[in-house]
């Protein structure tokens, strides 16, 4: 008698999908639980922001306008590297002249 009843591909796929759904749900639960603790995680950030009256994240520090986008000048939506010449709008894409930076 040959072995005809091996593990079926469809079973493997369904198990894989269930594992996927479970992993996905676990991550969503993770998101929830971290969000629950978000207050304390972000406490020091918000304390500093409150004390210094910060208006922005420091995600982008390469230029003045990126550090404080909220403070940017309407007429100069894009400003440049601290030692680059200001040129709009390519200043946000073109770095400062190398000899000056070094």
């Amino acid at each position: 008698m040959i072995k005809t009843h091996r593990i079926r591909k469809s079973t493997v796929f369904l198990v894989l999908t269930i594992v996927n759904v479970m992993a996905f749900s676990l991550l969503m639960l993770h998101a929830r639980s971290v969000q629950g603790r978000a207050g304390e995680l972000l406490a020091s950030s918000s304390r500093i922001a409150r004390e210094l009256q910060l208006t922005d994240l420091c995600l982008f520090t390469e230029a003045r306008y990126t550090r404080h986008p909220a403070m940017g000048d309407v007429h100069a939506a894009f400003q440049d590297h601290p030692i680059a010449l200001e040129h709009f709008p390519s200043g946000s894409l073109v770095p400062a002249p190398l000899p000056l930076v070094r």
Binding site: R8, K9, S10, T11, F13, L14, L16, T17, N20, V21, A23, F24, L27, M28, H30, A31, V34, Q35, A38, L41, L42, A43, S44, S45, S46, R47, I48, A49, R50, E51, L52, Q53, L54, T55, D56, L57, C58, L59, F60, T61, E62, A63, R64, T66, R67, H68, P69, A70, M71, G72, D73, H75, A76, H81, P82, I83, S92, P95, A96, V101
Partner: protein
């Protein structure tokens, strides 16, 4: 009920066998698809987390910031403005702020200098600065002051906590005295004014009054800051999207080609299935599973990988784009922000079009008469 499940399982079984016949092709298809879902989901996760973070900062931001313009450029505000504005009805508090940027040429970092109540000669620094200058508490940092003669020697009193990186990585906080020394900052002036008002709904009226009184003043409302933030993320996000579009497009063409180009071979197979007793709906179910297996797996793999990428590893793959040419980049751990609606849309866009593109071209072929295979 059981029969329906068994039927699905049986047909799914054959879909998988069918997909496995072109192993490399379908595996690469799955890989590319996963990669695209991964990239888009990473972007969604990243942007929603960032927006959340920014909102949190802006929650405690001043209701209004007043700048002074000189010939269209931002300039220092005389403290006399502060007194007069404070006298306006509805203004609760006016706080002149002293802050500026310091380009640290040895390291190439662009620091943000702010002032706080603290003893002269001491500073607090963000952990990004600490990393950049390899200095921690009790070390002394030398800053080049604007009068070129005397470098400023400042002792680090405290390094701001690591958790605050996203807000404070590039900060150097010093006393007003040191600040004025460092920048030769004129007495009687501030960088800008931070206003707190009694009733936030009167903000725009108040802004109008301020501009009336000082035509060179530029009030920036909190709502404008929020708007700027939205657009800045949309802009950076948009830049990344543009880069992804090429990948997405080529995938669409690839998928389209694969899905719509029903080969003679496939047509013949459908004929055979019909002739051995499969119904039209069975064939369509087969094609449905062929599409769903790939797209469903791609969705889950992509989204799960994106979650891990963004929330466990802080989106390292985005850093080159986000960093720009900055030397000082915050190390942060994002608090997960999952937008169910966006994920739902992503799910729909991933699974539905691909599955339909697999089924639709088979529609006609699936309706051929079962006797066709008898005469091939």
């Amino acid at each position: 009920m059981n029969r329906t499940i068994e039927r699905h399982k049986n047909i799914l079984e054959f879909s998988l066998s069918s997909l496995l016949r072109r192993k490399t092709k379908n595996a690469s298809l799955l890989a590319i698809y996963t990669l695209i879902v991964f990239a888009i989901a990473s972007l969604l996760f990243f942007l929603s987390a960032m927006k959340r973070e920014a909102l949190l900062i802006l929650k405690d931001a001043p209701d209004m910031v007043v700048q002074r313009m000189e010939a269209g450029r931002q300039d220092l505000v005389p403290l006399s403005y502060a007194k007069e504005i404070a006298a306006l009805r509805g203004v609760r508090e006016v706080k002149p702020r002293l802050w500026g940027y310091y380009y640290d040429s040895p390291s190439g970092g662009n620091l943000t200098v702010m002032t706080a109540e603290m003893p002269a000669g001491f500073i607090k620094i963000g952990s990004g600065v600490s990393r950049l200058r390899r200095a921690t508490a009790a070390d002394v940092i030398v800053l080049q002051s604007y009068d070129n003669e005397v470098p400023l020697m400042l002792e680090i009193e405290e390094v701001l906590p690591y958790e605050s990186e996203l807000a404070a990585a590039d900060l150097v906080i010093m006393s007003e005295l040191d600040f004025r020394k460092l920048f030769k900052f004129p007495q009687g002036h501030a960088t800008d004014l931070a206003l707190t008002v009694a009733n936030p709904r009167e903000l725009s009226t108040l802004a109008g009054k301020i501009v009336d009184k000082f035509p060179d003043a530029r009030p920036i409302l909190k709502s404008e800051m929020l708007r700027t933030y939205d657009s800045i993320f949309d802009w950076r996000g948009g830049m990344m999207l543009v880069m992804m579009i090429a990948a997405v497009l080529s995938f669409i063409i690839f998928a389209w080609d694969r899905a719509t180009g029903l080969s003679a071979e496939e047509r013949k197979e459908i004929g055979i299935l019909k002739s051995i007793g499969w119904e039209t709906s069975d064939v369509l179910l087969l094609k449905f599973w062929e599409g769903a297996v790939i797209s469903l797996s791609a969705f889950f793999f992509g989204v799960i990988a994106a979650y891990v990428h963004v929330y466990f590893f802080s989106a390292p793959l985005f850093q080159p784009v986000l960093k720009g040419w900055s030397v000082l980049y915050p190390q942060f751990k994002l608090v997960p922000a999952v937008d169910t609606y966006q994920l739902g849309v992503l799910f729909f866009l991933t699974v539905a079009p691909y599955t339909f593109a697999t089924i639709i071209p088979c529609w006609r072929a699936a309706t051929i008469d079962p006797d066709a295979a008898m005469r091939s």
